[in-house]
Amino acid sequence: MSESSRSRMDAVLGVVLLLGMMLALYMAFIEAPREQTMGDLQRIFYFHVPAGITGITAFAINFVASLMFVIRKNRWWDNLALSAAEIGVMFLVMVLVTGPIWAKPAWFVWWTWSPRLTLSLVLCLLYVSYLLIRKYIEDPERKAMVSAVFGIIAFMDAPLVWFSIRWWRDIHPSLTSESGGLAPEMRPAFFTCMAVFQVLMIYLLRRRFYLESLSNELELIEREAGTAR
């Protein structure tokens, strides 16, 4: 893709995102009905859940990119993996911040070691570890390979963490519970927010990827200048 078509695409995506975010705010705060027992507190759900799903999507992208890097050894995949990991951590932090804000009034505690909470926290820790590894390896080739290996391990670890803790007492609300899940009137707002979060992820992913490829280029130029000197 040429430079101009890439930046044009980003601009279009940015405008779509801006409009989408305004629509999502309107849907979540005005259009969606007030919840019967929790009141306005429930509206945090429109941001909490999409952030969680989007974060996990980003980690899945990191996994695929890590796997592809090990197979193809192409820096393109490493840039994608790094961008996805950073963005995934950001979304997971969003989940871990909005969760307790909701939980304190709803459950009367900030935190409880229920399976979903624990899994979100562990996922966040795993990918912070991933970013730590990257930080402490200088050689770019080695950094890419080692972090790809760790990216594969981290993602494979998540289901095992889940199987280890899913027996713990769970009080977390579920979208697919037998008690009905999400009320039909709330669905438009939820799906709007969900879509906007996904677009946000794609937008951030593109920007972060571009930044990383610029920094690769700079590194290459610096190396050439270093050898020429």
Binding site: L126, I133, R142, V146, V149, I152, I153, S164, I165
Partner: protein
């Protein structure tokens, strides 16, 4: 197989002659037990329910110490370069190292466990085979992924500091299930309930053992 054995034997010999990491691991494991005794002063009356957790924290901490030494020692005098030159698949190095780490850890675990019997006033006889099985599978899971991550950590700018940071989030499934299984044996004696935690630990060991074996060559520095 012979090559795996040779690497294992090499590490064992070094350890037998210097006892560097073994002493450190053992002492650290015992210190952790003592520290926890002070930390849990207020629950002295119900301390038995905390023993499985304390034990596995001691095992994990002392195990991390051992794993760190394993590749740090190879960095000295370019031993790792020599090791990389052996005419074998790099996965062989991984298997040999994992075997050595597992054996060291199990010996340390046994001694730390004997100390914990004294410190926490426990009596076990019939439970011993079950505990041995849990310690074995748990330790194998720990070293299966620990050996790979140790090789990663030792080649970074932070060296040994990095290993616990990247290892503990990953081995969480082993830790959770090992504590759970040990708790079943020591505090409930409902041995049927052991099946699940042992299965998860076994799956963990097989999955991460295979991944580590396949990917090990990529993390070594040439």
């Amino acid at each position: 197989m012979n090559k795996i054995w040779a690497i294992f034997r090499k590490d064992l010999l070094i350890e037998l002659r210097t006892k560097d990491s073994f002493n450190a691991m053992l002492f650290f494991g015992i210190v952790v037990l003592v520290i926890f005794n002070f930390a849990m002063e207020s629950l002295r009356s119900s301390i038995h329910s905390a023993v499985p957790g304390v034990l596995w924290v001691a095992f994990a901490f002392s195990g991390t110490l051992g794993l760190n030494r394993m590749f740090a020692a190879e960095k000295e005098n370019g031993c790792l370069q020599g090791l990389l030159m052996i005419p074998a698949d790099r996965g062989v190095i991984y298997l040999g190292k994992t075997l050595a780490a597992t054996v060291f850890m199990l010996i340390v675990e046994f001694i730390v466990f004997v100390f914990s019997l004294v410190f926490f006033n426990l009596t076990v006889w019939a439970e011993i085979p079950y505990l041995a099985l849990i310690f074995f599978i748990g330790t194998l899971g720990f070293t299966a992924v620990g050996t790979l991550l140790s090789a990663i950590a030792v080649n970074t700018r932070m060296r040994e500091v990095l290993l616990p940071l990247i290892l503990f989030p990953v081995i969480l499934p082993v830790l959770v299930n090992a504590v759970e299984a040990t708790n079943i044996v020591l505090n409930t004696a409902d041995y049927h309930a052991l099946k699940l935690p042992l299965t998860v630990m076994t799956v963990f060991t097989i999955v991460f053992g295979t991944i580590s074996y396949l990917l090990f060559e990529h993390v070594l520095e040439d």
